[in-house]
Subunit: 458 residues, 2 copies
């Protein structure tokens, strides 16, 4: 082991408290990108990052405004042209914290319980941003950077219509790199370093079904005026058949079937039905017939209801025939599905199935393509070795059910492949109440990243 | 026409502004019974009524507390034992005002636009209470009351589990009467005085379907953990068949079929499909096959979704697999259906149809029997004549789709029949935003009530 690497690893051990404190600082800023009232917090988070990146020794740090939330860019190219350049991704925005009443502590007051730190954004993904910062800091403060580093940190990952795609398109030269490091995926378990080689795309919709022109008395008009909540239930219910398959016409036409070899590999991963039962706290699983739970969540497309509203939902009772019903519906897509085609399929479904007693409106809120990365690239292999050094075992390769659109955009615009890793765990309650990060895994992650950056030049 | 009757009618004409001002006063108190934070307003409304009833010359006025909202009782028995006794009903509580953003004026600031007065509670039913007060005042202030009068005004009509039933049971002697005047139904049109001879019962439920123990990431777990919003959609969708009939087993078993004669009578009423299309602002109607819209809303039982909630319903998007889904569902019942049996039928339906991937809970929030009154009672006939005097035409007889549980309780406990009338119109937006009362109809109503009270002794 080189002397520099050794010193950097020692530096990490001596600066755990500092890394934790940095994470708490950024987490305490409630940068919820979907909430217009928190635009100020979003700005605050971007400025916090700028200050940190400057003190991290980045030679150029800029905040680029977008029509909504700003993008933070930074670089240190002192390693020189003959060394590889890593473009490191991050997003400093977080999901809304609701349902707030289900949190055991304030979502924006980082609260340590045992080995976990609870807060919105802890795992998704402020913790991972700080892990990359801490790794770079350790290397910088103990010698020269072995590679060129660029940071690209956006504030619109948790919201539809991110401006990052356009920004990448407009700044190809600035963002030029050899590979893309995306630390926004996760690990399967604290002792299972994980590389994600496929990400699902997403088509997110809001469907509104309008019945009567306003709320009406359900006694006087119920039975003659078609209830839009009932129409919504009928329409949503019809979106799956009794085999758990999505009924949209053509939905599966472009889906790349899983190869026999890949199914065999996936079946060997230590992610069984018991894992899903335990994570969900449910008695039985559900899903598309003929596929394992792991295949259903990673390699097959799905359709989920993310939100549902109609009429009176307060305490007590109200005898109302609602004027309208609203549903948020999203499809996770796998190669080679196209989110715009899914919108057309959904529209066709509504045209064929919505009764003439109501009107409806379907809005597509996001449309992101799925992606697959090369498992044998030298960048991926550098992380394989890094994981072996940090955890003492080779990482598993998995498909991820979630979507990281930037991976697709980078592939398309910059022509480079991604290394999708991260230190969040399935039990971290990402997007739900009581989101957390597992601190020992976070510290191990910093260690793995230090190894990774040194491995890149070997 | 008796001299006294003539003077009372003249008194009304001279005191329209006073009647309107009284109505505005009581309407301005936001007595929403389902909102625990408005318990103080409920109390304020009860005390306002007490003061008014005292100044109206009632010889006994009392506020009876209940475990929730108080009941106001008043009487003037000066007409003597050989004269009939009317028990006049009212409720001073109102529906919640939401969705507040759809109101054109503040719900609790009575706002006159043309001939209409807009406010929550205007038509349901503070306006009708003031109409009875104004009629009694006119008669009292121009001579002696021709009949004995008792007022029974509750504060829990718009909420499940009213304490009025128990109160009637416990105060049979005090409430003894010859008939029950219930001014909480309405008129079909401004020129169509209406007597309601049948009211539907109601069984109101809250259904909760619990999926995973907490909100989860829809990308990571969608497709393997059954989405409770989807289960809810499936369950709600299955509650009707493709003929618009409710699928609960045994639901129609006790339904009294409409007689050929009654169907003929109903078909002659000036309430056609056009009326419902216009009220709802919809392109097409819906409902149980084989019945007219009027029959569907009055003489046939129905099942409506009153509210629906799951997951993320705010602005933007959130990729959540919700922990649970909630629906408010109510059935309107016709003779001789039993609301407790409907609860058992719904429970059986859920036991048979809910998948093992979720758990569920069904809560019955109210259970009120349907009722039918004698159309030929002398009390009903007194109103038939009163309507002729006030509007120049005999009233129509109709069934009402809504529920007025007190009519059933009075029939059962006090052994008397009801006269169900009122001066609200179908276009009054009862229970919805922009509730209103049509002032010319309100004034005519006071006139009809004066005639009615004089007719009772003829």
């Amino acid at each position: 082991m080189s002397d520099h690497r050794q010193k950097a690893l020692e530096y990490i051990q001596g600066h755990k408290i500092q890394s934790l404190e940095k994470m708490k600082e950024i987490i305490s800023i409630p940068s919820v990108s979907t909430d217009p009232e928190r635009a100020g917090d979003i700005k605050k988070a971007a400025e916090w990052l700028k200050r940190e990146l400057i003190s991290l020794g980045m030679t150029r740090v800029e905040i680029y405004p977008t029509p909504r939330h700003p993008i933070v860019y930074a670089e240190n190219l002192s390693a020189g042209k003959d060394k590889p350049t890593a473009l490191i991704y991050g997003h400093y925005d977080v999901q809304p914290e609701d349902p707030i009443e289900e949190w055991n502590s304030d979502p924006f007051t980082p609260t340590q319980v045992g080995e976990d730190l609870f807060a919105r954004g802890a795992t998704d993904m402020k913790g991972q941003i700080i892990a990359t910062f801490s790794a770079i800091e350790a290397i910088q403060n103990t010698g020269e950077l072995p590679v060129n580093v660029k940071f690209l940190i956006e504030g619109e990952e948790e919201i539809g219509g991110s401006h990052l795609e356009g920004f990448i398109k407009d700044h190809k030269e600035m963002l030029a790199c050899d590979f893309f490091l995306n630390p926004d995926t996760g690990m399967q378990a604290p002792d299972l370093p994980t590389i994600t080689y496929a990400l699902r795309g997403i088509a997110y919709f809001e469907l509104r079904v309008q019945g009567p022109k306003q709320d009406m008395h359900s006694g006087t008009f119920g039975g003659a005026i078609h209830n839009p909540a009932q129409v919504m239930a009928d329409l949503l219910s019809g979106l799956h058949d009794d085999k758990g398959r999505v009924t949209l016409k053509g939905f599966y036409d472009k889906v790349l079937p899983l190869s026999k070899q890949e199914r065999e590999e996936l079946s060997k991963l230590p992610i069984d039905e018991e894992f899903y039962l335990e994570q969900g706290g449910v008695k039985a699983l559900w899903g598309e017939e003929g596929y394992s739970a792991l295949e259903r969540t990673g390699a097959r497309p799905t359709l989920e209801i993310n939100g549902l509203y109609s009429g009176f939902i307060g305490e007590g009772q109200k005898t109302v025939l609602p004027a309208y019903a609203m549903a948020k519906v999203s499809c996770r897509l796998v190669p080679n599905q196209d989110p715009v085609e899914v919108y057309e399929q959904f529209t066709e479904y509504l045209e064929e199935n919505a009764p003439e007693t109501v009107t409806w409106e379907l809005t597509q809120m996001s449309k992101e393509f799925p992606s697959i990365s090369d498992r044998n690239s030298k960048w991926v292999q550098a992380y394989v070795e890094a994981a072996k050094s940090a955890w003492g075992k080779a990482p598993i390769f998995k498909r991820e059910g979630g979507s990281v659109p930037v991976v697709v955009h980078v592939q398309h615009e910059l022509g480079v492949d991604s290394v999708n890793i991260g230190f969040g765990l399935p039990s971290d309650n990402m997007h739900g109440p009581n989101e957390k990060i597992h601190l020992p895994t976070f510290y191990k992650g910093i260690e793995a990243l230090v190894h990774f950056f040194f491995n890149l030049t070997q």
